[in-house]
Amino acid sequence: MSGFFESAWAIAERDMRAEWRSREIFNPMLFFGLLVIVLFSFSFEPDAEETQRIGGGLLWMAFLFSGMLAMNQSFPREMHERTLHGLRTAPIPPASIFAGKFISNMAFVVLAECVLSLLFAMFFNLPLLPILGRFAAVLVAGTWGLVVTGTFFSALTLHTRMRELMMPLLLLPISVPHMIAAVSATAELFQQQTLSQLWFTQLIGYDVVFTTLGLLLFHFVIEDV
């Protein structure tokens, strides 16, 4: 089992190092997220009270769309130099490729979300500090489910025509229940400063189910790459 974690970490570390040098995912993702927030705020022009009510939804839409940019490129990047073929023939469990990709995507997306949340709190004058711990918990649990399905679908759509269109078409409907829970939990945090057990449990449930399915089914997806 140690081989699993070691190889997953090796893949994640390589991805993070490549990203540190090129910043070809993080910068566009951050900029795109910022654009979504700006566009939404112009479309709705929320006042202070409204921001607390719709802020959760606004923030998660920005996270979802910008996160999709990172996840969409996750596996196709491995096709240029046929590095995925190399990974697949390496003596490592196939699920560890998925786990490694998941870890690096999670790092990119969470980092971008932290910056976006700060900017969001600043623009809309939302006091994040008193709810910081609970907000971070919702952020991580919400992002986990999103990234786990997104990373999986990035591999799943490798062989489809119009791949970049197909990935969001698969990801969006499946992440609706997860988004409902994340948005509701965040809205409740903004409005009442409390974290609902119900929504949080649902976020964790989704994370557990789809992480398990992803790890179990991943080797079928890359069987003959």
Partner: protein, 234 residues
């Protein structure tokens, strides 16, 4: 492309459909409070029951495809069943939603509400439209069966999630007639009509499956032969 099931199954379906329509519009008495508009209910419920059967079949076929992937003939059978049953599921789910909106307009005064049960059904419908789109975009690929089977398993796993995310929504939808608590029952004639409509739709589904599955398998065969030709050309 017709096969030996075409005429007998079609005849059977037409007879059952005629009986169901007769029972719905002429035989069963109109509902006391809602009047004639309640008659939509029989096909509304029948559509959803048929869609549920079809989507369950799809999940089963996706799972069986993965388990039987080494045996090409069996794998192709399960793949064809998965494709055909998803189509049936999407069609009947759309039918059920459409019948529901026709009923909702006169009774609730609105075509649609974002109510728990409606949202659940709508999202399930979207999940399987995505499944069909995926199959379309995979056409010609030798990985089509496996990729769509894996997505099928993700989709069925998401259905209970959708259900849970909806449990605290306010519901405007009538309570279930089965086990819906006191005062939720229906008279026997209405029950008979519900089952007549459901059986007719189920027969329609079976007829479609017997026609669509050989077509899907033929398509896969043609794709394989084409790939083989391409390899030999090179």
């Amino acid at each position: 492309m017709r096969n030996r099931f075409f005429i007998p199954m079609l005849a059977f379906t037409v007879v059952l459909m005629a009986i169901a329509l007769y029972m719905t519009f002429l035989w069963v008495p109109a509902d006391f409070t809602q009047g004639d508009v309640q008659r939509i209910f029989y096909f509304h419920l029948g559509s959803f029951w048929t869609a549920s059967v079809a989507l369950t079949l799809n999940a089963l076929a996706c799972l069986m495809y993965i388990l039987r992937r080494m045996d090409r003939a069996k794998a192709e059978f399960w793949d064809a069943l998965a494709a055909s049953s998803a189509e049936i599921g999407v069609i009947f789910c759309a039918g059920g939603l459409a019948f529901g909106t026709f009923w909702a307009k006169p009774v609730w005064g609105t075509w649609w509400v974002w109510d728990a049960r409606l949202t659940l059904t709508f999202l399930t419908w979207l999940l399987y439209i995505a499944y069909l789109l995926l199959r379309g975009f995979l056409e010609g690929s030798d990985r089509a069966g496996m990729i769509s089977a894996v997505y099928g398993i993700f989709a069925i796993a998401a259905v209970p999630m959708v259900y849970m995310s909806n449990r605290w929504f306010r519901t405007q939808h009538p309570q279930p007639v089965i086990g819906g608590g006191e005062g939720s029952g229906m008279p026997g004639s209405m029950w008979l009509t519900v089952f007549a409509a459901w059986f007719a739709m189920q027969a329609l589904m079976c007829w479609y499956l017997t026609q669509r599955m050989p077509l899907e398998r033929g398509k896969r065969e043609a794709e394989r032969l084409r790939r083989q030709l391409r390899v030999e050309d090179v």
